[in-house]
Amino acid sequence: MQPVINLKNIKKTYVMGTVEVNALVDVSLQIMKNEYVAIMGPSGSGKSTLMNVLGCLDTPTSGLYEFNGVNVSDMNDNELAKIRNKEIGFVFQTFNLLARSDALHNVELPLIYSGMKKAERKMLAEEALSHVKLADRMHHKPNELSGGQRQRVAVARALVTKPSIILADEPTGNLDSKTGVEIMGLFNELHAQGNTIIVVTHEEDIARHAHRIIRVRDGMVESDTIVEDRILPGVHH
């Protein structure tokens, strides 16, 4: 079976003046459809850089990146925007919602950019918000929502386009542990429904929701293991 993501010898170097920072040294990995992967590692180890590359927000300095079998490395800006829009759902630590727009419009936005008709995108956005149990908060602006609710809006925005993969970079980092567990429950659910999910975290508890844990250190994959004692959806420790 073709992997959703195939990285080969990915390298990402930032040049700051005369200093070169190797954020990713040599990363190769494959992620299959409907996998649920946690990426772990100490701060500064390159997790976010990896996620940005995976999410086509950033381009690697060298190496091969295939997305659903298509080489992304030499795509132009427009093509990357299209991939981000249609194939990738990104969830950030800081939610990254548009402050002036209500929940519904935030969730509709990727559909606007893909040129969907109003009635249809409204329906899909409402559906996604119901999915994350925010049907009664559609017309609230982000500052009228709690942190957990904001993150759920962000999850709804990520899944509304039915992307090939959902990427979440420390999605619980700004939430208290109870709310964090709720959000992870949401990811479990999405995974159970057939989505492919990659979550960055540095909390073991959270990582153990996933099927597979990739540990990163100094820009390299340190280990890549299957989780034996996985926390099952709905079972909270």
Partner: protein
Amino acid sequence: MKITDFAYEVKEGLGISFQAIRANKMRSVLTTLGIVIGIVSVTLMGTAIEGMSRSFNEMVSKIGADVLFVQKFSWFSSQEDFEASRNRKNIDLKQFRAVRDQGTTLAAVSPLTGTRLPIKYRSLSSDGIIAIGVNDQYVQVGGLNMEMGRFFSQAESNGDRPVVVLGYTVAEKLFPNETPLGKIVKLGSHSFRVVGVVAKQGSFLGMNMDDRVYLPITNFLQKFSNVRRGMDIHVKAANINDLENTKEELRGILRKVRGVKPGAKDDFAINQQEMFIQTFNQIGGVIAGIGLFITALSLFVGAIGIMNIMFVSVTERTKEIGIRKAIGAKRSTILIQFLIESAALALLGGIIGIIISYPLSLLINQILPTSMPLSVVGIALGISVLVGVVSGFLPANRAAKMDPVEALRHE
């Protein structure tokens, strides 16, 4: 890019613009000040020029381009000419008769002289009217239409009959409730019988054309003989296409009757409306020039202001740009968004400008028969949008080219 995609992006852009402008009301309004001034000046200029040309066109069509004015001085002579022509002798009735009797290419001829006189009917009076002495042919030469009654006849004109034809507002003032026809009015200390009222002519460059009365010139000269400044001869040419010939004929007759020596310069002038039109065009050109200069200057200032505030806006919203890019906004999407925003900002300035200049145009309307032309409003709004798009381009392009990861990191 599909048309529908584009339409959604424009719509989204408009929504964002209104949010952004609403969020920074004061800043937005101040930013557009240059545009406001530019639009006020361009619309007022357009209104004034429109008014002038309408006023002139009315005049030109009323009098007709085929009327020549034999006068002592040229309308548009320079100061030197004026000094040289100061001692010219007056035009008199003898010269008028020579023109009338010898001219072969003339449709109608009338002498014309006038003075300011008080007019009175019973207890009603008016001070500021102009009494004009002409002959019966003036009704054709001056292009007059009659509101009621008639113009005086040739017999009345030649027979020195004390008859008068009233201008429209004079008749209105003196005869608010009765017909003026057949009534006796007093001009100065002399009595005249009203035989007709001229239809409303309106005003020309602030001069009320209806505040005058017409009487036979011989009568005028007898009774107001203290008025010693000669007269003009107004001539309507038989054929407008032959105006130059008519002019030459008039020159010949006048040179002879005034005793101008062969080779000497004319000691009189033959004026025609075309000179007026030329001068009008010059004045219009000067107004347009000044207006355009002010407009261009303030639009330039406005454009800089908008560009500046758009750079601020782009920087402030770096994070938003990052978010939009992360979920699939293309460069062109961001570009369009910010172009629309700066166009909307400039359009706001344009609309404020029109709201300010509309009442001012009503003031202009006190002097000139005009209203703000719709085309000027359209052009003004078009210019605003154009300025917005042009001045928004650099900031919008900066936003469009932002790196999404960098932008997202921005706080």
